[in-house]
């Protein structure tokens, strides 16, 4: 049950991995441009969510790592056992989990973007 060939899925896996590396590096640098404990202050974090380029970066981290991570999990589970039912089940479950995590993370980004400073 695959719409894509495994070779195409591996290309997506590698591209999302390299792209995630770049965006996560920027995300970590944003925590290090000021003292680490200060960067985690509520006002500072909410200010990050009001910065549209940073919001785009967070959403791209969310999508890239969810695709890469859950596809990696799918690969591991397919290496452990092979049968039609197992492969279809693993593919459906990992895609569902990936979509769930993306939806939940996107909800946080949208809600935090709408929050004001208290």
């Amino acid at each position: 049950m695959t719409m894509l060939r495994e070779s195409q899925i591996m290309k997506i896996h590698y591209i999302t991995g390299i792209a995630a590396l770049l965006v996560v590096a920027v995300h970590i640098m944003m925590r290090l441009i000021m003292p680490y404990s200060m960067s985690l202050g509520y006002e500072n974090v909410i200010a990050n969510y009001h910065n549209i380029p940073y919001v785009v970066l967070l959403e791209s981290i969310l999508v890239l790592i969810a695709i890469h991570g859950f596809n990696g999990l799918r690969i591991i589970l397919l290496e452990l056992r092979q049968s039609k039912a197992w492969e279809d089940g693993v593919t459906i479950l990992t895609i569902a989990a990936m979509m769930g995590v993306i939806a939940y993370g996107t909800r946080t980004i949208i809600v935090a973007n709408g929050l004001g400073f208290e």
């Binding site: 591996m10 590698y14 991995g17 390299i18 590396l21 996560v24 290090l32 003292p35 680490y36 404990s37 985690l40 509520y42 974090v45 909410i46 969510y49 969310l62 790592i65 969810a66 991570g69 859950f70 990696g72 999990l73 591991i76 290496e79 452990l80 056992r81 092979q82 049968s83 995590v101 939940y104 993370g105 909800r107 946080t108 809600v111 935090a112 929050l115 208290e118």
Partner: protein, 145 residues
């Protein structure tokens, strides 16, 4: 007639570190760090969602995560992500046929040309960079700033 595609060794075959030396250890670490990072990623999304419940919920979450144990977990995550990234780049090159060496006649003791010093040094570089990143992470997290 349906072909039986069941992997008879299952988890035991996956975890066997003795069969291919360092390459097997690298294979194993790549998967363990991947699963660990996925678990951290899901936890981090949950942790960050406390922002939406206001400053008190965020402060309560920080009290839970910004502890010596939380910092140790974060240092482990730094090491896992560095190893996974560097070894992953090595694997991308390897899957593209780079660094595998030229195929040769299989003479005794049948050492695979593909498992050469380039591959082994790639694994060592990943391990050394992971250790260096963990030390830097520890200096930031426990450095008092």
């Amino acid at each position: 007639m349906e072909i039986d595609r069941n992997n008879r060794e299952g988890l035991k075959g996956w975890l066997n570190p003795g069969r291919y030396g360092w390459e097997r250890v690298s294979y194993w670490l790549q998967r363990l760090t991947g699963v660990g990072l996925l678990a951290y990623f899901v936890g981090h999304i949950y942790e960050t969602s406390s922002l939406t419940q206001g400053p008190d919920a965020w402060a309560a979450m920080l009290e839970l995560t910004q502890t010596p144990m939380g910092h140790l977990i974060l240092i482990l995550v730094i090491g896992m992500s560095t190893y996974h990234s560097v070894n992953g780049i090595r694997l991308i090159f390897t899957h593209g046929g780079k660094g595998l060496g030229k195929p040769g006649r299989p003479d005794y003791p049948y050492d695979a040309v593909s498992l050469n010093y380039r591959q082994k040094s790639g694994i060592w570089i990943a391990l050394i960079l992971a250790a260096a990143a963990m030390l830097y992470g520890a200096s930031v997290l426990f450095g008092g700033e």
